[in-house]
């Protein structure tokens, strides 16, 4: 239907059938968004992927077969093992062991599959002890049934550490940086963007110039400069928050723009004017009326801001300016792949990259779906 037909009417336009049941307007709007979102299948799948990913990250000591630090120099650069599901026609998980030969001249070690040595795998097996939420345990979701057997699902690094386990452990830092960073950006963005959009005028102009400035400056050199300034003596936790704050210092701008745009259009809407005429205070208007109306957009913008944070941390750590070993983050792990020689003989060092791509992809899809669902004028 063309706009003309909507605007020029002799009778008021009819609310469409999808307006939902009457009652609490907020709840029905939320329900509407949720219903539109569920139709977005890729976004739904992404939501599930992310839920699983965060669960794995939280439970990584339990889910990962070995700890982040465990190493066995005998298995440096050991290639990935293939998991066999059928054992002599019966169901039974196992991998084969390695046979390693060392070239007498170059001293390079090569691994071959040792089919004579079966390493049975199992679920809920005992392994390295760990503590999770204050509980001490040594039960792992899966792993070799005999403690100490080599188990490298996606190969080993230069020190014979399990790349797969380390990727799971690293998710804790890499994926939470996104959340914490976005939370900080959110506070900054909503505060500054909200102020900008609500007061408009000169305040708005100044804030807009500031945002334009931050957007116009290449972020990575700036991030690099700021994170290089973090004191070398800092603990992992301090560096973690340092990096997150640095990322948010630049990351809030996108959110602020969304919030401002929403506020600018909403402040002219009738209900804001009505509230103002009723003598409702400004802060109250912001909190009670403006924020809930653009919650959908804000959530979508938040979701879409997370990938930037994750990629930022990964890049900084990869360059050696972010998280430092022995802390594990995806960027730290990928640093091991920086050397092309090492990479050419052990391409599985890029496996953590797969995790990065998967998570970032899922966030982008989810954010896209949310944004579409939040848009009342969907096409």
């Amino acid at each position: 239907m063309r706009k003309a037909d909507r605007v020029a009417t002799m009778t008021p336009p009819v609310p469409s059938a999808s307006a939902g049941p009457p009652g609490d307007g907020q709840a029905s709007q939320r329900r509407l968004i949720w219903r539109r979102f569920r139709r977005h299948r890729v976004a739904m799948v992404s939501l599930c992927v992310l839920a699983v990913a965060y669960l794995v990250a939280i439970l990584s000591p339990f889910v990962a077969p070995s700890s982040a630090g465990a190493y066995d120099a005998d298995y440096a650069y050991a290639p990935p093992q293939r998991v066999h599901v059928l054992d002599d026609g019966r169901l039974g998980l196992y991998v084969y062991g390695y046979r390693s030969d060392t070239d007498p001249v170059s001293l390079a070690r090569t691994f071959t599959v040792d089919e004579s040595r079966k390493i049975p795998l199992g679920f809920f097996v005992r392994g390295e002890p760990y503590s999770l939420f204050g509980f001490e345990s040594d039960v792992h979701l899966f792993g070799p049934q005999r403690v100490g057997d080599p188990f490298y699902l996606t190969g080993a690094n230069s020190q014979g550490q399990d790349v797969f386990s380390r990727t799971l452990h690293a998710a804790r830092i890499s994926m939470s940086v996104g959340l914490v960073g976005v939370f900080l950006s959110f506070v900054l963005g909503v505060l500054i963007g909200g102020v900008s959009g609500f007061f408009a005028g000169r305040v708005d102009t100044v804030i807009q110039r500031l945002i334009e400035f931050i957007i116009a400056v290449p972020a990575i050199p700036l991030w690099m400069g700021l994170s290089a300034a973090l004191p070398p003596g800092w603990s992992t936790l301090q560096i973690y928050f340092g990096i997150t704050i640095i990322l948010s210092l630049i990351g809030w701008t996108g959110l602020a723009r969304v919030v401002r745009g929403q506020f600018l259009s909403l402040r002219e809407e009738e209900f804001t004017v009505a509230a103002r005429l009723d003598g409702v205070g400004r802060l109250r208007i912001i909190v009670r009326h403006l924020l809930p109306s653009c919650a959908g957009y804000i959530i979508a913008a938040l979701t879409l801001a997370i990938p930037g944070m994750i990629l930022g941390e990964t890049t900084l750590s990869f360059l050696g300016l972010g998280m430092q070993p022995p802390a594990v983050s995806w960027g730290v792990l990928l640093q091991e792949g920086q050397n092309l020689r090492a990479l050419s003989s052990a391409p599985w060092l890029l496996f953590p990259g797969l995790a990065v791509v998967l998570v970032v992809l899922a966030f982008n899809f989810l954010g896209d779906g949310l944004r579409d669902a939040a848009d009342p004028y969907e096409r």
């Binding site: 400056v217 050199p221 300016l321 791509v357």
Partner: protein
Amino acid sequence: MGRYVLRRLLYLIPTIFLISAVSFLIIQLPPGSYLDTVIAEMAAEGRVDETRIAVLEQRYGLDEPLHVQYLTWIGGMLHGDFGESFLWNAPVSELIGSRLLLSVAISLCALLVTWMLAFPIGIYSAVRRYSFGDYAFTMVGFVGLAVPEFLLGLGLAYVAFTWFGQDVGGLFSPEFQDSAWNLGKVLDLLSNVWMPIVVVGAAGTAALIRTLRSTLLDELAKPYVDTARAKGLTERRLLLKYPVRMALGPFLSTVGWVLPALVSGEVVVSIVFNLPTTGPLLLQALKAQDMYLAGSFIMILSLLTVLGTLLSDLLLAWSDPRIRYGNR
């Protein structure tokens, strides 16, 4: 138009001030003064040159308050004095020149590649919405946005190295490193440089395709398209003359955030590929706390990006009659 240009040029003043302030902040941030780092360096080498310390102290006004130091630094910069790199024991201005040029060249090439790819694909995706091709490009685009530059760089380098036996890194193969310019050297340069350019441009291309697609979809729904159709124009002709022309503005104006992203990407990618551009040197400088070198890099990169954005904005404004005739 005149007012628009004037306004944009006036905005440049606070922008430049902010850039210089941030760069100066980065120089100042590391604990201990620049001088401490130099003295530590000298001590490590075994001899402390008191006269040089005095010279440096005087030059940067290190015993003065912070704002005086800032003014000294800025004043020096206006005369082409960017400070001294103790890492290289040379003036920063000497180190930066050629590397900066290459960085700019690679970023601009990447911008061109980005546009050349994104433009036709974006049009295709919008016009053939929901077609197989649209879905495929959308999918590739999403993945392109999800892969960090350095990872894409590593992946491509791995493929080139193991499958094609190409040794990636640097701008020239060893045999051409010191030779004079000839066709072989140019070809060698191209064979080495395309990969960083593609990697730098990849994420931008993906983002631009999505931008163009959605702008064009908006434009395609506008009444003037119906007017053109009602004239009896062919689809192709009316598409190129009206909606594509209209979408061109928003498309080109993305340079405002594409250019900074490309410069950012170039810094990272040149580190991966070890190109003689600003990236590796900036990283080295930062790691060694060679702060005048690092600060100058950040300042000049930011400055060039902002200027590039400004230039493109002005061109864009000039191409839009609504702005040219001062309607805005």
